[in-house]
Each structure stands twice: as structure tokens, then as C-alpha cells.
């Protein structure tokens, strides 16, 4: 018996115990990838440097994990102490040994009947804290799993899926709480960001992204339009432990493409909100697209880094927005510091001194259809940008695609789509895109690597001076982080709609990306 136990211990990696201190100091242990974006600053940067420009051509797949699903895979794995935790569509989770790719356990989620969402049962990842793994489910629950077995410790309903709420985002674990956002922007839900007690699943706080009548911000909604105001929160935010501030992006106001009934700026839709980590109280907000009628959710990743603007150093938040503009905000005050377009756009003359867009005429949907750049999927989208402290560059997956925006009727019916129009492609226009490297302080373009079609996957930068990204056509590739030169590419055989991560396994740096229904893991050949 004893020998069996010893054998198991030798073969299987030890299950992780990931304390809050470890999460907070994730940069000091680059062998792991402990949060959705790699660290609380959401930089999606790996401090590992085994793989470099000099040897990246020897990068080879070492194992592949295939999910039994036809749903789109948008997951970004979390890795702790040799074990990879992967979420699957709907909110299932699998733990994999990073040496062999073999599953250690699996939590299979059965989605409650009546769950609905605009864009498939996708799930983007998990959070880990101490001895638990946390995942949001498509039927709007937050579930805590035992980290060694995948057995449910608690399961809390966040919101009613029949109203159109779903969860696709990875949770964010901080201190003793699990923060989670919801999707449902196409169903006229009332958006929210919640925090739950990590041990019990009891709700600790809730921030409504659409204010109730009489609350500050309610004056930005005409009539009772706030009741169906949406502003969902479907991508994981960032956290500044020093200031104890959670930064989280909010989505489109509802209905998406017809703003007639919701005259006003429609707070807090299309915002970055800064919330107190203990109470969820709003510290400040910055709205990127007031009174949006394009479905330009601001649910992109807020990246925390220092920026020097007009000679002054700021603790900043860097934000590549779906509306095609890049923003630098002071992350203590929310003050706009700098911004400029990073992708093709035709809707705004620019940003004023406060960061508010200066709208151009003919840039809103019409019943006949209005040609506007960018299209509804935006200049970028949920897939992650990356910031490298080594190169001091902000890397953004960019889309240069326009659309014909149609305004239609919008009648709210509980649980049904509430869009008020739509958007069709521009006939004869091939979608294009690029990986763009921006100077973080100003958004000035440093270099770009053109893609065959529009960007649809996230970016990882590494201390090996590399940038990894993927394409719609299935290429996973590496660029020189300083100059954007192509160094390596691998055809995975299916569209990549996910974010890369990097960590160490058995002493070797690995890079992982989801493609098709699979996780591909690469390392240097021996």
C-alpha cells in the first residue's frame, strides 16, 4: 500500500494550494499562470524566457487535449504547480497534468433548461484560490470545486437564466472573495458585478451597472428605459491590490442598435468601473461610448501599468476599446490622460480633452442601413491584449472591418432578444486585421503585423521577447516583440478564438492555446 502511495506521489503532481498572497505576487512565479490574465494587472505577460527568438523555430506540440464538444472554445487555461485547469463550454472544468496532457479529474456541468445567450455556450476560464477552483456557468451559477477532485463544494445562483442572464467570463479571485460578471446584453437584463465569499458562496456585494430610479446615473436614461438597460459584464477585469480596486468593463446598453427610447448617456454602459474590492462601491467610472447604438461593449481587458503622459508618471489603466480607440486613464482617479484610434473607424472625429468621443454625422444606425467603421465586433473585442514591461509596448489584436448598421423595432419581452436592429457586412469587403504594438503612454503605433483576416484571438507577450497570437485560419504564431517580425507559425487546423498562456512544466516552458475543440500545448523540442 505504501509503495502505491509513493508511486502516485511520484507520478502525479501535487494539487495546488494557491493562496491570495501567491495570486498577488504572481509575477514572482512565472512557472505558473495563476489567473485568467496571468496577473492581477491583466498584462498577459509571462516572465519565462526559455523560448526566445533564437530558438522559437524549435517549438513543437507536446500534447493536445480534445474536448467533446462542437461549441466554440474561448478558454484561457490557469496553471498551478503542474496542473492545468481548463474550462469547457457551459461551465465544465477539466484538470490536466501538464507533462502528459492526461486528465486528472473532470467536472461536467449540466446546463439548466431555458438558459440562453447571444453567442454560444462559451466559457473563458476559471479562477483558483486556496483549495478551490471557481467557474461561472452558462445557466448563471458560480460554482466552487474541490481543487483535488473537481467535486462541488458550493453552487450559487448569480442571476435568473430565464431572464437572459448567462455567465461566460472567468471569475476573479481576490482576498477571500470571488468576483464574477454576467452576459445578457442582447436580452435587456440589468447588468451586475458580484462578489461571493470564497468559502461559503454567500454573496458579499453586488454592483448594478444600471442604476435604479433616483440613484446617481439614473438621469442618463429617458423614461423607464433603464429597466432594460443591459450593460453586461462578460469579460474578467483587473485588480490593484495596493488600492484595493477592482477594474471591470461594462457592455452595451439595451436595445443594442436603437437608442430612441433611452435618450441620454446611459450610465454605466460601455464604461470602465472602479469598485472597492471589499464593498463593491463605485469609486469612479469612465464611459468610452456614451449612448452607444453600435453594440460596442467596453468589456475588453483593463491593463494596469505605469504610463508617462506629458512628462508625468501615472499609475494607469490601458484600454484598447471595441469602439476602435485606445485610452490611457489614471487608475486612481479615472481621469482621461491620452487616447487615439488604433483601428479603422469612421464614427468619431477624435476624443475631446475629457476623453469623450466627438461624434461625426451619419454614424448611427438607420432603417436603410448606415455604413460605419468599425463593425459591431469592433476595433478589438473580448480577446486579450498584452503589455510587456520588457518592451514597454501594448499589443492589441486589431480589426479593420466596417458594417452596415440597421435600426429596427425594439419591443421588450422577458427572456427574448432585445436588439432593435442589426448589422450586415459590407458587400465585397474582406475583413482584415493586424497585431498592433502601441506606445502605452500615447497609443502611437510602433509596429504592426498584418493578418490575412480580422483578429479574433488574444495575445501573450513573454520575457523571451516574443509575442504569441492566433488567427481565424488556425495559425498559432510568434513574433519578435520589439519589431513585429514573424519568427514561427504552426497550423492548428481550426479557428483560434482564445488567449494564449505560458508556464513551466517539468522544467520546460510551455505555451498553450485553444483552437477548434482542443488545447494545443507547445514546448521546445529536446
Amino acid at each position: 500500500m505504501r509503495s502505491t502511495i509513493c508511486l502516485l506521489a511520484a507520478v502525479l503532481p501535487l494539487a495546488a494550494q494557491v493562496s491570495y498572497d501567491r495570486l498577488r505576487q504572481a509575477d514572482s512565479e512565472p512557472a505558473n499562470w495563476l489567473t485568467y490574465s496571468g496577473n492581477y494587472s491583466a498584462q498577459r505577460y509571462s516572465g519565462l524566457n526559455q523560448i526566445t527568438a533564437a530558438n522559437v523555430q524549435h517549438l513543437r506540440p507536446v500534447w493536445v487535449y480534445q474536448m467533446q464538444t462542437t461549441e466554440r472554445i474561448e478558454t484561457s487555461p490557469v496553471v498551478a504547480d503542474g496542473i492545468m485547469y481548463v474550462s469547457e463550454p457551459g461551465g465544465s472544468v477539466t484538470a490536466l497534468d501538464t507533462v502528459t496532457g492526461r486528465p486528472l479529474w473532470k467536472y461536467a456541468r449540466t446546463i439548466a433548461k431555458g438558459a440562453r445567450g447571444c453567442c454560444g455556450e462559451v466559457n473563458r476560464g476559471v479562477a483558483i484560490l486556496n483549495d478551490m477552483v471557481y467557474v461561472g456557468t452558462f445557466d448563471s451559477h458560480l460554482v466552487a470545486l474541490d481543487i483535488k477532485s473537481g467535486i462541488v463544494r458550493w453552487d450559487s445562483e448569480v442571476a435568473d437564466p430565464k431572464l437572459g442572464y448567462s455567465i461566460t467570463a472567468a471569475p476573479l479571485a481576490l482576498k477571500d472573495k470571488i468576483v464574477i460578471g454576467i452576459a445578457g446584453g442582447e436580452y435587456g437584463v440589468r447588468g451586475l458585478i458580484d462578489a461571493y465569499d470564497a468559502k461559503t458562496g454567500q454573496r458579499a456585494w453586488r454592483f448594478w451597472t444600471v442604476p435604479a430610479a433616483g440613484e446617481p446615473g439614473s438621469e442618463t436614461w429617458a423614461g423607464d428605459s433603464a429597466k432594460t438597460g443591459a450593460a453586461p459584464t462578460w469579460v474578467t477585469g483587473a485588480y490593484d491590490p495596493e488600492q484595493n480596486i477592482v477594474y471591470w468593463g461594462t457592455g452595451n446598453p439595451g436595445p443594442d442598435w436603437n437608442g430612441d427610447a433611452r435618450v441620454g448617456d446611459n450610465l454605466y454602459s460601455d464604461c470602465l468601473v472602479a469598485l472597492d474590492g471589499d464593498t463593491g462601491k463605485l469609486k469612479w467610472h469612465f464611459q468610452f461610448t456614451p449612448h452607444d447604438t453600435h453594440d460596442w461593449d467596453s468589456t475588453e481587458i483593463p491593463v494596469l501599468a505605469d504610463a508617462v503622459v506629458r512628462g508625468e508618471k501615472h499609475k494607469a489603466v490601458l484600454f484598447g476599446n471595441r469602439n476602435a480607440f485606445y485610452y490611457v486613464l489614471d487608475r486612481t482617479s479615472g481621469k482621461f490622460l491620452a487616447g487615439r484610434a488604433f483601428a479603422k473607424q469612421s464614427w468619431a472625429k477624435g476624443l475631446d480633452d475629457s476623453g469623450r468621443p466627438i461624434m461625426l454625422p451619419n454614424s448611427t444606425p438607420t432603417t436603410e442601413g448606415a455604413k460605419i467603421y468599425p463593425d459591431l465586433s469592433g476595433g478589438t473585442n473580448w480577446f486579450s491584449p498584452s503589455y510587456s514591461p520588457r518592451t514597454n509596448l501594448f499589443y492589441v489584436p486589431a480589426r479593420d472591418v466596417g458594417g452596415v448598421y440597421l435600426k429596427g423595432n425594439a419591443e421588450y419581452k422577458q427572456g427574448a432578444q432585445f436588439n432593435g436592429g442589426g448589422q450586415s457586412p459590407i458587400v465585397g469587403e474582406n475583413p482584415t486585421g493586424a497585431i498592433r504594438a502601441l506606445t502605452p503612454d500615447t497609443g502611437e503605433l510602433k509596429w504592426e503585423f498584418k493578418l490575412y483576416s480580422d483578429a479574433g484571438a488574444g495575445i501573450l507577450s513573454t520575457a523571451g521577447n516574443l509575442v504569441f497570437a492566433g488567427t481565424n485560419e488556425g495559425d498559432f504564431f510568434a513574433l519578435d516583440a520589439a519589431a513585429g517580425r514573424s519568427l514561427w507559425h504552426f497550423q492548428t487546423g481550426a479557428t483560434i478564438n482564445a488567449n494564449p498562456v505560458s508556464y513551466q512544466s517539468g522544467g520546460k516552458q510551455q505555451v498553450a492555446i485553444a483552437s477548434g475543440n482542443s488545447i494545443f500545448v507547445f514546448a521546445l523540442e529536446d
Binding site: L376, Q417, S424, Y452
Partner: protein, 263 residues
């Protein structure tokens, strides 16, 4: 080599914006919205979203002919509902844009009404056209019909179920006016000076796949090419204007318009 490529269909999948309907909605077998008012609204929606490819009376064009009693991808109303809502994967047919359940049924009602329109009559003798296809036209060098012919051009076995007679005539006389979405003629120069002209089969950021005009398949890493020229709007298929008489064009079009497969 003489190239007689009719209508290339190496189109890349069109981008579609999916607008799902209420998932609790149970799709009935038969269209529940077929009143004259539904038909009228369906026609209006059809004109806005469908007519550009299918023609205002479903006579076809770049899109399939809908003015026929039986639709291959939509044998019943439920299937037609799905085609309008979701598009047809692997084809140029996208999902309907922001059409809700009622609007989908109204479009479906209008599409079904087109099936009662008698098929287009075309001048010309299909039998003579069949002969011209092989003899003077040499069309079989590049196109396959019922398993016979060359494979450089697209298969034509069921071409009349997807293209109108007017579209086929335009393809014969002015092939470059009827290029499908995503079609691209390319000219390549390899590092060792080799020159290839052909049709792009596929492409990504790093590679390109080409069918050359002699029927050879190639796949290149772009870095290995000295030149990559994109002849947007060009087709290797020559015009038959001047090669065939007006009566012969009528005959050839009549033959092509008779190709409806096994339906």
C-alpha cells in the same frame, strides 16, 4: 491551354451575424404566418435582405433559384425557417440579419409563394447547347457535369438550381462580371523564378494554396515567394462573345439552364 472556366465557386465562407431567437420557441412543422399581410411584409424583408443574390422574384443570380417548387436545403417549412435564421454552412448563404421569429416566417411565406411562379423560359435549344458545350466551347476541359470533365472550373451538374439564366448568360459573355465572393486569380513568382498563374483555393496569414491553370495543386509559404500578385476582379475564363454566335450562346445557356441535377 484554352481555359473555359465558367463560374468559380471557391468562395470563402461569408461572414454571418447570427441572431438567435428565443431558445424556448418550438418551431412548428408548418408556417403559422401566411396571411396576405405576412406575405407582404415577407416580400419587403426579402427585397432588403435576400433579393440582391436570389433576385426579386427568386429567379436566382449569385444565389440559388428560389422560384421552384422544391428547395434542396429546405424541403419543408421547418428547414426553411432554419436556413433563413442560420444560413447554410459552407456556402455563401449567410444567416438573416436581425430577423425575429415572425419575420423569419414571413420571409419563408414569401419564398414559398415564389415556388408557384412558373420556371423561366429561355430561348435556344438545350440539345444543341449540350453539343456546343463539348465541341466549340470545350467547356468540359475545365468543368465536370455528372462526373465527366476537367476539374479546374466549378462543377456544373446542378448549376441551374443555383444560378438564373441571366446570370449564366452573363457568365458566358462576361465571366468577370459574375465572380463569386472570395474568388481570386493570383500570379506567383517562386524564389527560383518559377511563374504560376492560378486560382486561389485557400489562404491564411502565412501560406497560400493555388490551383494552377494546368490543374496542378500548389501550397506555398508566402515567405518563400518572390512575388504574389492578386488579380482582383479577373478570371482565367475567356468571354465567348465573338467565339460563339448569338444563337449558339442561346443554345449553350439553354443547356446550362437545364442542369438541375437529380431533382
Amino acid at each position: 491551354m484554352r481555359l473555359i472556366c465558367m463560374i468559380f465557386s471557391f468562395a470563402l465562407a461569408a461572414t454571418a451575424q447570427l441572431v438567435p431567437f428565443d431558445p424556448e420557441y418550438v418551431i412548428p412543422k408548418n408556417n403559422p404566418n401566411t396571411t396576405p399581410a405576412d406575405l407582404k411584409n415577407g416580400q419587403q424583408l426579402f427585397m432588403g435582405q435576400c433579393a440582391r443574390c436570389h433576385g426579386p422574384k427568386g429567379e436566382g443570380g449569385r444565389g440559388a433559384v428560389l422560384a421552384q417548387p422544391r428547395l434542396r436545403h429546405a424541403p419543408d417549412d421547418e428547414a426553411l425557417f432554419h436556413v433563413i435564421q442560420d444560413g447554410i454552412k459552407g456556402t455563401e448563404m449567410p444567416a438573416g440579419y436581425a430577423v425575429d421569429t415572425l419575420e423569419t416566417w414571413q420571409i419563408a411565406a414569401y419564398v414559398r409563394s415564389l415556388g408557384r411562379v412558373p420556371p423561366e423560359t429561355v430561348p435556344g435549344d438545350a440539345k444543341r447547347g449540350q453539343e456546343l458545350y463539348r465541341s466549340k466551347g470545350h467547356c468540359n476541359q475545365c468543368h465536370i457535369i455528372s462526373g465527366q470533365g476537367g476539374s479546374i472550373g466549378p462543377e456544373l451538374t446542378e448549376i441551374a438550381s443555383r444560378r438564373s439564366a441571366a446570370h449564366l448568360r452573363a457568365a458566358v459573355l462576361d465571366p468577370e462580371s459574375t465572380l463569386p465572393e472570395g474568388f481570386l486569380e493570383v500570379r506567383l513568382v517562386t524564389k527560383d523564378g518559377g511563374r504560376i498563374t492560378g486560382v486561389r483555393l485557400n489562404e491564411d496569414t502565412f501560406t497560400i494554396q493555388v490551383l494552377d491553370l494546368n490543374g496542378g495543386l500548389h501550397s506555398f509559404v508566402k515567405e518563400d515567394l518572390k512575388e504574389l500578385q492578386r488579380d482582383t476582379g479577373k478570371s482565367p475564363m475567356p468571354s465567348f462573345r465573338g467565339t460563339l454566335s448569338a444563337a449558339e450562346v442561346d443554345d449553350l445557356v439553354a443547356y446550362l439552364y437545364s442542369l438541375r441535377g437529380n431533382q
